[in-house]
């Protein structure tokens, strides 16, 4: 690991932490104390997914755990469960990163929607099995379309100012440098 590369990576890590921090801070602002119709989107999850689909190597597992666990604690979720589910989902993505490189944008959104539904379902299932107090499944699933609607925003953030792009499917540099 050369020094410029380390610098590059830590820069991206700081950018990720900063973005997630801002999102969480805005969520915590005492503005939406009134109960409204639509639940707010899960921007942190959208950002993690969009980032993961592009450059998984710039988003180490530790950062994800840090951010989501902080969210668990600050946003009054049961601590640990959602983090565990997010870790499982992102690791599954990481394992399939080569196949994900050829994904079209629409398919990426579809994948995100499916993954978030599955994650919400699993979350609901575990909370039900442990008889924990939780909102209904319908209300939680309603969060999925709202988050999918803002997912392009996360994609734009990743691709635009952050400059995270997928590597081409057959990247000569990778193959050469491995051996």
């Amino acid at each position: 690991m050369t020094e410029p590369r380390l610098f590059h990576q830590s820069g991206y890590a700081l950018a990720f932490l900063g973005l997630c921090g801002v999102v969480m801070l805005i969520k915590l602002l005492p503005l939406g104390t009134q109960a409204q119709g639509l639940p707010a989107p899960d921007l942190v999850l959208a950002l993690i997914f969009a980032w993961m689909m592009r450059r998984p190597d710039l988003l180490p597992l530790g950062l994800i755990v840090l951010v989501v666990l902080a969210g668990d604690l600050l946003l009054m979720r049961p601590p640990g469960l959602w983090t565990a589910i997010v870790v499982l989902a992102t690791e599954a993505l990481r394992k399939r990163q080569k196949r994900l490189r050829t994904l079209s944008l629409l398919a990426e959104i579809g994948l995100f929607a499916a993954a978030m539904s599955a994650m919400t379902g699993l979350y609901w299932l575990i909370l039900s099995l442990t008889f924990a107090d939780q909102p209904g499944l319908g209300a939680q699933l309603l969060r999925m379309p709202v988050t999918v609607a803002v997912y392009p925003l996360a994609m734009l953030t990743c691709a635009g100012p952050l400059g995270l792009r997928r590597r081409a499917a057959a990247d000569g540099f990778d193959r050469g440098s491995r051996r």
Binding site: M24, L25, I26, K27, L28, L29, P30, L31, G32, T33, Q34, A35, Q36, P39, A40, D57, L61, V65, L69, L73, L74, L75, M76, R77, P78, P79, G80, L81, T83, A84, V87, L88, E91, K95, R96, Q97, K98, R99, R101, I126, T130, A132, D133, Q134, P135, A139, Q140, R143, F173, D174, R175, S177, R178
Partner: protein, 302 residues
Amino acid sequence: MALDGDKGTNHFRPIRRILTGGLVLVLLTMFLVWRIDSPRVERLRTDIVDATLPRLQWAMAPITALAKMAANFSTYSALYEQNQELRRELQQMRGWKEAALQLEQKNARLLDLNNVKLDARLTYITGTVLADSGSPFRRSVLLNVGAQDGIRDGWAAMDGIGLVGRISGVGRTTARVILLTDPASSIPVTIQPSGQKVLLSGDNSAQPRIDFLESAELVRPGDRVVSSGDGGVFPAGILIGSVTRAPDQRFRVLLAADYARLEFLRVLRYSGPEPISDTGGLVAPRAETLLTPPPATGPSND
């Protein structure tokens, strides 16, 4: 280099898998510990919130202020109509005020006649709202008063007009208020003219539900809802709101507190009603003396 695709560097993959599995296990254990021993973990959470959020106040306060100013600015257009409406209301209120004054005097006279002793007024601590829950499924706010101000779990929090929620979770400098609209909130209330005791349970909508209503025909939309003081958690008689009928014909409560602008909340100091421990300790010996004539008076009768 771990730059490449699905395969990764071959000798790192098993280790990575073990590490990930271990991490997931740790997280799930954390969840289970929370499930088994919730209060302890919640206290840890309160401590973390207590340590972080007040420090971020410098960043949050200006944004909050700006957003509120923007919201207020958008209402300037409706200001004229509002002004007219307020004038009309003020006129009506003058009439009411007159009636209220007369009633107050009458009430004072009657109380004087009866020699009634009233409760001492509740004292309160006022706190500023620091943050809300941030989750779409939880309704709570964080106040900037905590254990060092003597706040205790279970105390009632209200804005100027009506009940807002109850304290649940106290840190050293912060306290969390579970709002009445939170799904976990459930408090005993009385519907006023009919005096029916019901439970007010939040369900994440703006108007909490009325549960365990015995006779629905005695309740009309517009009835006052006040806290009943059952269970000794809340002081009785705090205004909560008025009954409305939801589109699905169920009764709900229109909250009197202005949930759109929760800025300052009063936390009522209340230690519960004093327990009455002995059952008539004064009565028993006296009954004895009445039944058995005292020996001193016995001989004098002869």
